[in-house]
């Protein structure tokens, strides 16, 4: 179990992609953190069969 990447993250500037509740991104912006808010919506229009297929394809 190699946790070097985690230890390296400590002390580095966080650069965050936020998908979901916008309030979390708003709070990070208040703290002057770099955050990109996604305009997330369910993949494949929420079609469960398509989503299962995407999962099988590793997408």
């Amino acid at each position: 179990m190699d946790t070097t990447k985690i230890t390296k993250l400590f002390g580095r500037e966080l650069t965050i992609i936020n998908m979901g509740l916008e309030t979390f991104a708003d709070n990070l912006k208040d703290q002057k953190k770099t955050v990109l808010q996604m305009d997330w919506r369910p993949p494949a229009g929420g079609n469960e069969k398509m989503i299962a297929l995407l999962k099988k394809l590793g997408k």
């Binding site: 179990m1 190699d2 946790t3 070097t4 990447k5 985690i6 230890t7 993250l9 400590f10 002390g11 580095r12 500037e13 966080l14 650069t15 965050i16 992609i17 936020n18 998908m19 979901g20 509740l21 916008e22 309030t23 979390f24 709070n27 990070l28 208040d30 703290q31 953190k33 770099t34 990109l36 808010q37 996604m38 305009d39 997330w40 919506r41 369910p42 993949p43 229009g45 929420g46 079609n47 989503i51 995407l54 999962k55 590793g58 997408k59």
Partner: protein
């Protein structure tokens, strides 16, 4: 009259839509107002409350449903207009309507190649896929979402272990990395105490107590509630967190917080902590008292966890600190409150927004041989028959699913607690109300103000006997939290609430009163 409007491919997050629904419901003449995405669950809920199933044919999870019931056609139109305005206000609130917002993670990473963490709070059915994409692209992940299957959690944590990345969650509500509060978290002083926790409000309470003692933290990592509970998950994130902190030069003391883990996982955590060689504090909340072993010290409650960590960090015992409330002082407070009581008053009502804080209070009472009923009691014999109806001495976690279907968590919208207070405080048999107030990012902007307003009105309406009812509280927060902790304390004290420096001390006072009058 009822009406539904569907907006195709118009996605909004659930909390925003709940707040929109709440705002529109306030319009006089609106009987029901629901704005929600067209998921199977949400459509089912709308059918359950009487909306016509035919209206939802062809609706997909990406579609926005606005469902209204109003007394007249004019009020109906007003309600729909109000929703539209609320939705439009969101799009233009920051004046950033031209800001690029990628629709999928691949585009997001392309746009921000230096990103190192993905924060996921999408519906649970989709969260695992998104986390897998994040990890496979070399990014650390935090899943706030719940309703992720345990199989998915195991797979994600295996990927995270292989790649050496953080996979905090699912159902991880709190973390602080590089002094950056994530989701529900406080602004805590920088220091050398590193924490890993399988409990959100537990992590908030301990980090805030550390701050109140004048010390600080290096990192506070969350693992999600199942990490140490289910042997199949295997404590993977906890172990990774411990190892990462053991190799971190800025971390001098390591703290672990959890409810009692599965026994084999508890042994592994203790073994891993011992190997770090750093002084460690372990809080398995509810576990029996345990003596120190090698570099490990065991704490029985969250405040003690913080105190021990600060002592180990600074090398000095905190004799004059904020939690040094003597037994004599507690006895005096308790005696004063008992003197106020009528002969009818006997029961406790603990009304909590933090699940682990509710647990800590319950354990505190049970350690004093006071039986507690709760909606989250691990013993089914003491589980409330109806979470909305108290039995004998009761502590409720208002953040539990029973209260939050279709509503924001009470940390975001404390009105759930007002509704319960309205039922409990007029009851002449209730002696003590015990409450937690959680500040910080993610939380309501003025939780104490909300309760102060409620109690003020309740007093002028003669809803309760304020001279005899004890209201015992604590504030989980720091001086740097935006809600202004000092102001929150004053607001509570203005309504005769007793504000103790920690949840543990508040529980001790409440238990002392209950024991004294029964």
């Amino acid at each position: 009259m009822k009406k539904i409007i569907i907006k195709k491919d118009s996605y909004y997050d659930s909390v925003f839509l709940m707040l929109a629904s709440k705002a529109v419901k306030k319009i006089s003449g609106v009987i029901e107002a629901v704005a929600s995405m067209g998921t199977e669950t949400n459509v089912g809920l709308l059918k359950d409350i009487g909306f016509d199933a035919k209206e939802f044919e062809g609706v997909r999870p990406n579609d926005l449903i606005m469902a209204m019931e109003a007394e007249t056609k004019e009020i109906m139109e007003e309600a729909f207009q109000a929703v539209e305005e609320f939705l439009n206000k969101k799009r233009h609130s920051t004046g950033e309507e031209d800001t690029y917002q990628p629709v999928n993670l691949e585009n997001a990473i392309r746009f921000l190649p230096q990103s190192n963490l993905v924060l996921i709070s999408v519906p649970g059915a989709y969260a695992a896929r998104e986390a897998r994409l994040a990890l496979n692209n070399g990014l650390h992940a935090m899943i706030f979402s719940d309703n992720v299957s345990i199989d998915d959690e195991i797979k994600l944590k295996k990927i995270a272990q292989e790649k050496g990345l953080l996979m905090m969650g699912p159902d991880c509500g709190t973390a602080i990395i590089n002094q950056t509060p994530l989701c529900f978290a406080n602004t805590v002083r920088q220091g050398d105490i590193g924490l890993v926790a399988a409990s959100g409000s537990g992590l908030q309470e301990v980090t805030c107590c550390i701050d109140k003692l004048g010390s600080g933290i290096s990192q506070a990592l969350g693992t999600g509630g199942r990490d140490l509970k289910d042997p199949r998950v295997g404590g993977r994130m906890m172990k990774m967190g411990i190892q990462a902190l053991s190799h971190d030069d800025r971390t001098k003391v390591i703290v672990v917080i959890s409810k009692p883990p599965a026994p084999e996982l508890a042994r592994q955590v203790i073994s891993d902590l011992t190997k770090t060689g750093k002084p460690c504090v372990v809080c398995f909340l509810g576990q029996e008292k345990r003596h120190p072993e090698k570099n490990l010290t065991f704490a029985e409650n969250l405040e003690e966890t913080a105190r021990l960590a600060v002592e180990l960090s600074s090398g000095s015992q905190d004799r004059d600190g904020v939690f040094a409330v003597s037994s004599k002082t507690i006895d005096q407070i308790v005696a004063g409150e008992i003197n106020k009581k009528t002969t009818q008053q006997k029961y406790l009502r603990g009304l909590y927004v933090g699940g682990t804080l509710a647990d800590e209070a319950r354990i505190s009472f049970e350690q004093q041989c006071i039986e507690i009923y709760s909606n989250i009691h691990p013993d089914k014999a003491f589980r409330l028959k109806d979470p909305k109806v108290s039995q004998n001495h009761t502590i409720v976690d208002l953040g539990d699913d029973a209260f939050t279907v279709g509503r924001p968590h009470p940390m975001i919208d404390p009105s759930i607690r007002d509704e319960r207070l309205e039922v409990e405080i007029p009851d002449s048999e209730v002696a003590v109300i015990l409450m937690d107030f959680v500040l910080g990012y993610g939380a309501h902007e003025n939780p104490a103000g909300q309760v102060q307003q409620f109690l003020n009105k309740a007093r002028s309406d003669n809803l309760y006997q304020w001279e005899t009812l004890s209201i015992i509280t604590s504030i989980t927060g720091t001086d740097e939290d935006f809600q202004d902790m000092a102001k929150q304390k004053k607001l509570l004290e203005s309504m005769n609430c007793i504000v103790m420096p920690s949840n543990y001390l508040a529980s001790r006072v409440a238990a002392g009163i209950i024991k004294g009058i029964n």
